[in-house]
Symmetry: D2
């Protein structure tokens, strides 16, 4: 299959997530990175492009969208890996030209931007994919399949948490660039930890269980001196189905590197998964011994194998999970190009709807916390 | 040292916790079990006493308190291991006679009983010890010492949970005696999982951190058909110090046997401990590798060693932790008999105050949940 | 049931293993410790006895055997917890008087002593029990039952190891009493780590699999400067059945506290167990997910439950496993007193045969190593 | 930096390891796969090439070597991923043309082939890299650095094992292609499990410790009915430095997927690492708590960070470790092209010497086992 011509907005030299997207796009060999508007100035962009061996460097995403759309061999898709507040404008520029968009999360920094972007997605023939990368892990696919197959019975309880420790000390005052924009409401939006990682936790819980959060009550804290955005959040969840849950996100929990963890309990069994050990899924049918299902190992089904590359016991990790989102994006793009309708082509890929739900989650958390943790309907 | 003459109320043949108390009392050889009112009828009591080699069997705790108090060689202390609603009356009978009381938790089934019992404790020269047994684990003592020594800095976040799975199926309708009285408000009080195990979680969090809960917001559920008491509870915590926390108790989480787990995070470091693997304590000083402190091993201090019996690598468990409460009770009783004042003699032992706090916790959870998880001050 | 009158030889104030035996004897309330020859001098013995509340203190085990045998209410059984080289003489003194012997391992310090003791056991009506305590762990019973039931198919491979780290530094030169006699061939016999802990590993492997070692090839090392006894041993095993194995014992492996671990693999499945986490047994039926069987939990059978005291999730440990040996010793003693033959009464208890096999194992290891790891037949 | 023009021999449609090499070559974007002789027939090769988007497909490696060497834009390097017995001839063809060779392990199927290949490597200006991929894991680099820095003191004990379970059942009779050639001496050479995975274990132990095995005594078994090659091996190791070790390789140990594990103990500390959880390294300085060092996390040094791509807590796995070998190969190739001498350019990369040591290891194992596990000098 011919590789998809890809561009990138953001992801210049120092950025973390841009490099991740590039590796993810390469792993399964479905993309070719040909163009970029990688930094905030044309000079920096050019330097970054050169370092990456990208020939077509642009000074801005607008320029890039126009120029690429005009070329015979212009990019078919673009990855948007800027800070949150740029997502909407950049995505719209490409969607307007019929160029497929693969966008980092959360969707935008404001709800207004999100809604406006949603309209652009609806109006475009191009796909919009949001890289909720954790949905690409094989054992998350396995978990989702097991819930849907009824292996857990009726879902009663969802415990999801995403603690980190990198903001325990005041990193934003110590020159850590990531910390600077993550703690800045102008660039990150109204949510701190709830926006950056709480959205991942929320998305993962909904993806695996197939349930949606109806109401939440959130108690947000900013433990770091001088912070205006939350660096820790405690959230009670009520799902529309009657299931209940708790969500914890934190950037100030020493000893937690990137400890996203999901536990789901139903009337017939329970599941537990941890992002830091992603090749394992614990399953306990009530009244039987706990079972350790391994990626591609005995007990793992077709959904997990379909997104695995190597045999059980050979660990796949974060980059492979991310690559699955890219691989499935390639499939979806080719499908749409071949006439499949957008919704069908998307398959399990997270899109604008997941993005809007994430924005609603952030907004509800902030609003609830402002009302002393009152229940807020999403 | 001479062994303390001990009696027991409750703990007849089928009871679980009575047997635990008896083993705990034996392990360190500080008690001699001599008298009992072990069951609800004189005949059953007699049969149980005989099976246990206890000579002095009584038909009721009142009879027992009177008779034993009248003997030269009467019991010095009594263990009360009945269902919750009997605790208060039984304890009062012995306290009134100056006999020390070691009582299972939670304190009582109603707040009124608890307050009335508190008065009796205040009026008596005898000690009242509540077996919040998890405070007896060496690594919990270690954790408490580390928090108090400032190893974690200012405490910011407390995550505590106590999930079990034994009520996932309707055990109370399947002839499981434990399940019958645990799900019966008349015998257990207003709290289901929050009363039975949530109180342990609450007590442990406070014991280790030295903090007290100021307010809580609780969302209680009864997932089991026909249940009136909660079998799952989600609670947001606000500590007086400004620390925040979450507490989860559940009896319907498949795959969780007795999974009490405490995590505490401060401005300088974090601690994690799990009851099912009690000989380990994880400690992460922010910015350094995680350390695994083992009971009596390198890194474990005096507080842990003082309540350990055997070298590191030789696991001690639940019964040993429980035995520590008994061992320290013996110390306290002898101290009081030798003239030490009650408060000093108690040392780290949980007493009436811990019991009242537990009752207040249950009451606040139930009240908050009745108000749709509004904040309730303890 | 009436408690068995018990005496003790060795186990004075400073000794580690004597205290363990006493707790183990108390846990299930089947013994009453009444007499002792606890130390090497009458004065020290008396002091230790007083501290323990034992009234009948003797200056030597000979005196004790004679005196106790002459009393109406003399001891029925004796625990021998001296250094290895005293085991044989002490045990013989009591066996000759018909007093049941519960003896710490390894059996003796020389093969001659062992054989002579075996004769005394054969000649006596009394039982001889060797406290290979690890056979008392519930999950070891479970493992044994599963092997015997054929859950693993034909046993092919046995991996057993027992690393510790306490002799990494020259503890015997730093005043550690345990280290002094453990590294002294006169008091410990020909084996260092192979005698002290290798015998446990060997015993456990044979107990669980039901197989016996036919030949071994051993490479013993003394890494600690000036040591004559091995502090590390690598052993190849050939079982009579055709199964093969490896055994590693070490006292110089930093990070290993008491890390006895057994892994057994057959044509149909595998088992893994670790002493430091004794409530878990991993079982993998070939081609299925790994299962975590927990003590008294789902998947655990009658053999494990029979020697458990408390529910799953409430960890039992080293002392409880040891107590099971005492509890079953009590059963065996009462059975013999009631006319059951010795072999039947012993049940699963390790006895003189296990002791002789342990001595043969030590002897073969030392002999093989002296021949540059040549195969030696046991 | 310009990407290196790469070819591939072997790795057609069904092959496992070819796909791994291709992903590994892509991850860091240092290679471009342009040519291939992917299968044993021109037709199959062509089909595989087409599927992979490779334009230059050849009928044999000889033809490929000649044709590519003759092109201006011919390949600079070739990956050889055929069954073992083809390695030598293929590698020689390219080395003779000055084309750098990246070869799968073990080196060859016979010692003669290995020695002859070694001569070709010596005679060529091109590099020869052997993909002992496990040396590319960041925490293995970390472990090596810690050993070399003296953090463990003098190395005393090396425990290394590599158990798998995929040959527990007779897979070679059930149509599993991998199993067919792995159990066939003609295609795999004299070693079964010792050749396939024992060499990895041997290589890893030597890489991390910097020690070399002087002598070994091996007991090889073929448990699967009808097998001539070992499917399980127990090996005693004596290192030239005086350190001792054990090595276990197995393909018949149910529950072990790919459980390569290395433990190293010295006079001052110990290290433990498991391939299935590769982002963790356990380090115990004697007398201190065990520490969990994480990839790119606190405690991890420059050697580990240099070969990490993403932050701690975002797991990297098998493919990333493999990619590091490719990335460093690219560096080495460019360095040689720029005039650096071959030895310097190789850096930590495994080459012909590691391959010869692996062949000597296999040969010694087979020879020792044939002599009833006598010591054989390497």
């Amino acid at each position: 299959m011919k590789r998809i011509r890809l561009g990138m907005v953001g992801g210049g030299n120092d950025a973390f997530i841009g490099g991740v997207h590039r590796i993810a796009a390469r792993i399964d060999d479905r993309f070719e990175l040909l163009a970029g508007a990688l930094s905030s100035t044309p000079e920096k962009s050019e330097a970054s492009a050169k370092a990456l061996g990208i020939n077509r460097s642009y000074g801005s995403f607008t320029e890039m969208a126009n120029a690429e759309a005009a070329r015979e061999d212009g990019i078919e898709a673009v990855s948007i890996v800027t800070p949150n507040h740029v997502h909407a404008a950049a995505a719209k520029a490409f969607l307007a030209k019929g160029i497929h968009v693969i966008c980092d999360k959360p969707l935008t920094s404001t709800l207004e931007d999100a809604q406006s972007l949603a309209q652009s997605v609806a109006d475009s023939d191009a796909l919009f994919i949001l890289t909720h990368n954790y949905t690409g892990y094989p054992m998350i696919r396995q978990a989702r399949d097991m819930v849907h197959a009824g292996d857990l019975g009726d879902i009663r309880i969802v415990q999801v948490e995403y603690p980190q420790d990198w903001l325990t000390s005041p990193a934003e005052k110590e020159g850590v660039k990531q910390a600077e924009w993550r703690t800045d409401p102008k660039r990150s939006g109204a949510g701190g930890s709830v926006g950056d990682i709480g959205t991942h936790a929320h998305n993962l819980a909904c993806f695996v269980t197939g349930l949606s959060v109806e109401k939440l009550a959130a108690d947000l804290q900013a433990f770091g001196a001088g912070r205006t955005l939350d660096d820790n959040a405690h959230v009670l969840l009520r799902f529309a189905s009657g299931a209940r849950g708790m969500l914890w996100s934190s950037q100030v929990a020493p000893g937690n590197e990137n400890a996203l963890k999901l536990r789901v309990y139903g009337s017939k069994g329970g599941l537990e998964w941890s992002q830091e050990d992603p090749n394992y899924l614990w399953f306990t049918p009530q009244g039987e011994p706990k079972r350790l299902i391994t990626r591609n190992g005995a007990g793992a089904g077709a959904a997990a194998s379909a997104v695995s590359r190597i045999p059980a016991g050979h660990p796949e990790g974060y980059l492979e999970g991310f690559a699955t989102i890219y691989n499935e994006s390639a499939e979806a793009i080719r499908a749409v190009q071949n006439g499949t309708d957008k919704a069908t082509a998307m398959g399990l890929l997270p899109g604008i709807q997941a993005g809007l739900e994430g924005m609603a989650f952030i907004s509800a958390c902030v609003s609830s916390s402002a009302q002393d943790a009152a229940w807020v309907t999403l």
